[in-house]
Amino acid sequence: MPDTSTAPATTATPGATAAPLIALRNVCKRFPGVLALDNCQFELAAGEVHALMGENGAGKSTLMKILSGVYQCDSGEILLDGRPVQISEPRQAQALGIGIIHQELNLMNHLTAAQNIFIGREPRRALGLFVDEDALNRQAAAIFARMRLDLDPRTPVGELTVARQQMVEIAKALSFDSRVLIMDEPTAALNNAEIGELFRIIRDLQAQGVGIVYISHKMDELRQIADRVSVMRDGKYIATVPMVGTSMDSIIAMMVGRALDGEQRTPPDTSSNEVVLEVRGLNRGRAIRDVGFQLRRGEILGFAGLMGAGRTEVARAIFGADPLESGEIIIHGGRALIKSPADAVAHGIGYLSEDRKHFGLAVGMDVQANIALSSMGRFTRAGFMDQRAIREAAQGYVRQLAIKTPSVEQQARLLSGGNQQKIVIAKWLLRDCDILFFDEPTRGIDIGAKSEIYKLLDALAAQGKAIVMISSELPEVLRMSHRILVMCEGRVTGELSRAEATQEKIMQLATQRESAVL
């Protein structure tokens, strides 16, 4: 038996006495501008559920993508049964028995559930050229039966709900007979019944000796399912502790690097401020169903909910990016007719997309061009751009928002995520927008930049801007919002004041589906 005591900083636990099923040693990974993983360690024993925790951006997903061959590490090694292995592509990971359920669903919508599950491993007949469609559907049906899931394997995945698509992903991972199964927030889009189902499946697999890496933010879930917990923070490995006998507070303290109590802030009372934006009865298909809310001056309204709950859709509809079927939008007391983003901007609405690179930023253009993009009318003289005025305005915002860039001529794509986000904010501020939609404003940016964005949001609210913040990170919603609106399946399922909001209450509202049938 190889000696495992060299694994640094692991607490000895039962089940980790033999060579671990998987060991990651001293793994480093650098992305442009970010050291995503800094000398990380991780061990997984056969038959254990090992929770991997850390705030968003801590490096959990990156570490698991290295284990599953999506990324390659810059340095460090991966040991399987104590032997070093190279995993340079997903196919190799699969061959080694490492399966992963990605957080973003990776399915082919035009193909059926069964075709998705067995893509790349289709049962074949007639010289191995033809797909044996019957066997394919039979095998998929067998997996669904094992999962006690009532789903026709011939249904195109694009016609399933997000929760059902997730189940297809799980079925796909199960179909590999994997020895290692990585689940990246598998319950993010599931309701309680489905979560129970998932846990039953996980326990079955555990009994068969499969090692499971379980990434989740939900503490109560981890209590139920996890044996050990490893914590990461800012791309670094912090510690591994047994779940039993460890308090949640101490895990959180490891995650955030400090105790949580200092976090409670009292928001300013904005309940008597002027209502700057009111929407009533917004509808569009299944995505937006009878949504209404009010937004006041100086307020940060948090939009909470699961992926696909309709929050982004509501923001985009108000911004005029997508058409509405019905509904009223009232701005500063007057009905506004918004048919395009140009109309919305004219009414002082700015929208910061969750996907900066695609929708928010012209990454190939420089900082000043990006900041001035929405306000070109102001900088135009007889059809020509007033370059000097643009530069001065941009420099003003670079100073005011502390955007870290060598100059305003720097290409936007060369800046870090946090600074890119600030450029988009500057763009809307320059346009005199006083209603700002922030869609996942801190996604993909590191922890230092996050707190700067938070300060900036607070400062903007204090200046009287009205802010809607869409966020899937509950701690972020709880920390920043003055008031919280929760959505589920296109409907607003509840509104919570800052005082009454807890993670549990939000989750309950976020999973409050209309019916038991998915």
């Binding site: 196919r91 990605h102 990776n106 399915l107 075709q115 893509i119 074949r124 011939r154 249904t155």
Partner: protein
């Protein structure tokens, strides 16, 4: 369009527990588009048969079939590429290149007929393989890569042939490939030329391969979500190259048909055929964004185009106006497709 009621977006979503049986299969969006295209084709034919008494003459119908053969085969080649969410602008000049290479092998080298056939298909596959490698390995966007191939192959055809047509007078039976009628020999009342027979054989083969084989499955998967396919451990580059290679081989068949019909390889021919082929694919309901499409739809699309041209001609509409009408039809077909998608979303 009586089946429009089934396109209500919530109908299938509200009851996900019902299995997609025959009903769902008949009325799924792809089938609906096919029905729509087929109905349009019938409508056109009814219209022209009233507009001109000559339209339904056997000779005229045979001429429609004959004129669909080349475009139909090229459109089948394009269907594969477009389903994989690529595009191939080189199919027209690739067809000509294959015809020229058949001419080199048969006329210049005096080899027997079967070798000429193999040569045409081989050089089509080779050209497609080059396009595929440029796209998959060098990461050149398909539009640019195949635009380059279009010019490259056009130039090569001219260079190899010395800019003169290569005639197949010395190869016995070459014209029979497209012009004779095996069906007519069996059933004298049906003088359907072999070119059309080849079109249908290629169509059936391509349809089976697309829907039943692993290769077909990956063609759809590439167009639906390439990243998901990659993460599933499938060798995405290999299959992408395979799609273009296969498509190239089919262009080789088109090259044989056109060379046989003209009894010569005309090196200056070919440019412009790719756009007709793409138009047929799109009219047939294959989405340019990839992931969906059928060979049957493409064949219907190709027939819509040739019925339109034929019908307008026997109504004595000037050729210039025929082109205008074809343009309008293409835009209309894609617009209908967009409308349908929007309603579903």
């Amino acid at each position: 369009m009586a089946n429009n009621i089934h396109s209500a977006p919530t109908a299938s979503m509200a009851t996900p527990e019902t299995s997609p049986g025959l009903r769902a299969r008949l009325f799924n969006p792809a089938a609906r588009q096919k029905l729509l295209a087929f109905a349009s084709l019938l409508l056109l034919m009814v219209f022209f048969s009233f507009a001109s008494s000559n339209f339904l003459e056997v000779d005229n119908l045979v001429s429609i079939l004959q004129s669909t053969a080349v475009n139909g085969v090229l459109a089948i080649a394009c269907t594969y590429v477009i389903i994989s969410s690529g595009i191939d602008l080189s199919v027209g000049t690739m067809m000509t290149f294959c015809a020229v290479m058949a001419g080199v092998v048969l006329t210049n080298w005096g080899m027997p007929l079967p070798l000429g056939i193999v040569a045409a298909i081989f050089f089509g596959a080779l050209s497609g393989w080059v396009s595929g490698m440029v796209i998959a390995k060098l990461k050149v966007p398909p539009f640019i890569a195949t635009l380059g191939m279009m010019m490259l192959l056009k130039g090569l055809s001219l260079v190899i042939s010395g800019t003169r047509p290569i005639y197949f007078n010395d190869t016995e039976g070459f014209t029979a490939i497209a012009q004779d009628s095996l069906i007519g020999d069996l059933i004298p009342a049906l003088p359907i030329p072999n070119a059309v027979l080849i079109l249908f054989i290629v169509a059936i083969g391509a349809s089976v391969i697309l829907n039943k084989t692993v290769f077909g499955r990956y063609t759809f998967a590439l167009g639906s979500n390439e990243e998901a396919l990659r993460l599933s451990g499938v060798k995405v580059d290999f299959w992408k190259v395979a799609v273009y290679t296969f498509s190239g081989a089919i262009c080789g068949i088109a090259g044989l048909i056109i060379a046989s019909r003209l009894n010569s390889a005309q090196p200056a021919l070919g440019q412009g055929y790719e756009l007709d082929a793409i138009a047929a694919v799109v009219i047939g309901g294959t989405s340019l964004s990839g992931g969906t499409g059928t060979i049957l739809g493409t064949i219907i699309g190709a027939f819509i185009m040739s019925v339109l041209v034929n019908g307008l001609r026997i109504m004595s509409v000037a050729q210039e106006w025929q082109t205008v009408v074809t343009g309008v039809i293409i835009i209309l077909a894609v617009y209908l497709d967009i409308l349908r998608r929007r309603r579903r979303a």
